[in-house]
Amino acid sequence: MPATFMEGNEAIARGALAAGCRFFAGYPITPATTIFQTMLALLPPAGGVCLQGEDEIASIGFCLGASMAGFKAMTATSGPGISLYSEQISFAIGSEIPVVIVDVQRLGPSTGSATRGADGDIQFLRWGNSGGLPVIVLAPVDVRDCFELTMRAFNLAESYRCPVFIASNKEIGMTRESVSLNALPRPAVIDRKAFSGTDRFLPFAADATRKVPGFLPIGGDIPVRQTSSTHGPDGYITTDPDEIAAVQTRLDQKLKASIRRFSYWAQYGPDTAETLIITYGISGRAAKSALARCHRAGAKSVALLVLKTLWPVPADLICNKSANANRILVVEMNLGQYVREIRRLLPDRQVEFIGQMNGRLIHPETIERAVCHG
């Protein structure tokens, strides 16, 4: 089968187009810039809009406006840009504006190293909003995942009307890989559900089971209200504690209660393994190499779980997959972030941590040594 040689960032842009993205805005930042460049090459000729904002705040603001007009929208940046996105992310969460946000992580803190990879934003993506309500974060491992998970990110943003992050990494975004375009998984495209009732349109009225309001675009036949203020179903400011609580609980539960529907993962090695390596992102590749080394060295009772949905925490998945393991090794390209969640879920298990923040990939040998001789 013919193959192309493509980097993760390009695959994200192509996945976005395949998912129906019609609006992109971004501000140049290494290592995410090539997403903007690819969108600029692909989107306008396809009839869409690609803008370069005056800064990151504007870029995501453009996306929120376009999304409220009914367009599927995406932006892409790295850690310093996510910092600037923060207030707009909170807006998108609280006001249920679908948007896909790509974080091609680089070594922090602060401006850090523009061309060095890390997975240092994992807790930041979850908690970097005011109010602390949940978000969805997907973590690709390779070019194929970049394409597929971007399509899934759009589907989730549209289904649940929320921001969805793709937690990429310089080591995925700017690493090229041979990949067969025809063999890429293409999940069915989902569009946001339009309001279809016969009653008066209330922009934030949601039924108890779906928990997601039907959408009408700003600019359509029926006037639509959108607001970042604490609002009731009618989109006006409310001070009623019951009404406030109902909305907050719904925003919390619409994602947490559905996590099983979008818990993406890959597992390698036996189900019954006593030792389980848990990781995500680029480290999933080193861990897979390490697993093969362990098995070759005779350590057969080792398995690997690569999480591709990080937030909300797929608790059932993690607990089920580690049911037989008495020893868990969490591998991350940071000094210990997601391991907090694993320790929280598995308090009775021995949970070890392997991580580094030096701009280099975690080497398979480091993981192998920890598994076999740790």
């Binding site: 609006f23 306008p44 504007a58 207030e87």
Partner: protein, 431 residues
Amino acid sequence: MDSLINRSRPPVFCPGCTHERVVHALDQTLSRMGLAANRVAIVSDIGCSGLFDTFFNTHAMHGLHGRALTYATGLKMANPGLTVIVTMGDGGLGIGGAHLLAACRRNLDLTLLVLNNFNFGMTGGQSSATTPSDALAASGFLNRLEKPLDVCRLVAAAGAPYAARCSGLDKGLAQEIERAVAFEGFAVLDIWGVCTGRYTKRNRLTPAMIRETIDSMPGGGGAIRENQRPEYAAGYAAARAALAPPQPPVEIKARFKPLVRGRHEVVLMGAAGQRIITAGEILAMAAMGAGLQATQKNEYNITVLRGPSISEVIVADAKIGYTGMETPDIILALAQEGVDRRRRSFANLPPGSLVLCAADVALPDCRAQIRRIDFKKRGIRPADRALASLAMLAASQRIVSTPMLMAALKQRFHGQVLASARKTVQRAVER
């Protein structure tokens, strides 16, 4: 046309506040222009001007402080037929300064109504970007040290095609707003008014004083001749229509039998400007021509044309896991900068590995087989060293063959560049 005022949400401004007059003047404007509720979006900022969207039955979007222009831009680009009106105070103008300047330069058909009352009313009367230096504000002495901004001069300098200044207390307010809304392009209307809850409690500001000051100021008369140009969304649509469809990604078919099995690692260590990364890509494409998998991971400084440039290429007959180097088979040592950056890699090279080393590069001690190459003597420029060394590898059947390399060159380059690349390959393998 009927009023678009929301009857169930009457304005809640302080008694005497100019904002309330602007609400009614805007409503008169929209009615006079015959705009239906669903053809208008009011995008409101934060503070008292941020209440505007609730007083109308139109489409509405209310977001964060200073960012109203960003949402308005997205809305308008997605739906250019919609009339988009932004209401913002002098506070939002200050915090959203970058967005204001960019909107002026862009010239998207938005109307910005600045409800300028010289202070942050809602938070207690602190000074804003337009507070006069001699005014008493809740920011103590701070505003005395700063010069207030002249909105119209600012936006004119930034390229706005329309900037007008008016008093919110004048009879002609609705007409002023109508002129701004009717303007096709980015129109800024700086509406001066009184904040009775805060500012005028400590500062004397009468309608006559406002009128007098406005009359004495230059500019602010509406359309700015030197800034007239096509509107952004129209320009965007025209530019977009003229674009050719993008080229599909290059697809490589497996035409050759692979020379290698298993996983093989090649590191190109050179300097910026030596086309190291392009050579890495060519190597990967050549291997893909034999049905192999490939990855390429690069390292370079953020400066262009200076410093080390390193490319790590892995080729394998199965899916590649770890994308870093485990045990390099081959190192192409093409410039000192690259070798110095990766000194550590040499210590663990196994005896079977190969280093192709430029004659002018000093290597650290290692157990690999070393092949010295005097590129200069062969008439190969520094920029062609990487490709020339690939040609040498191919000639000795390492990783890829010469036909695989030539096929990759043909897919990657065209015309002059291809001819010159072929010449480099030839020169590299000449005895």
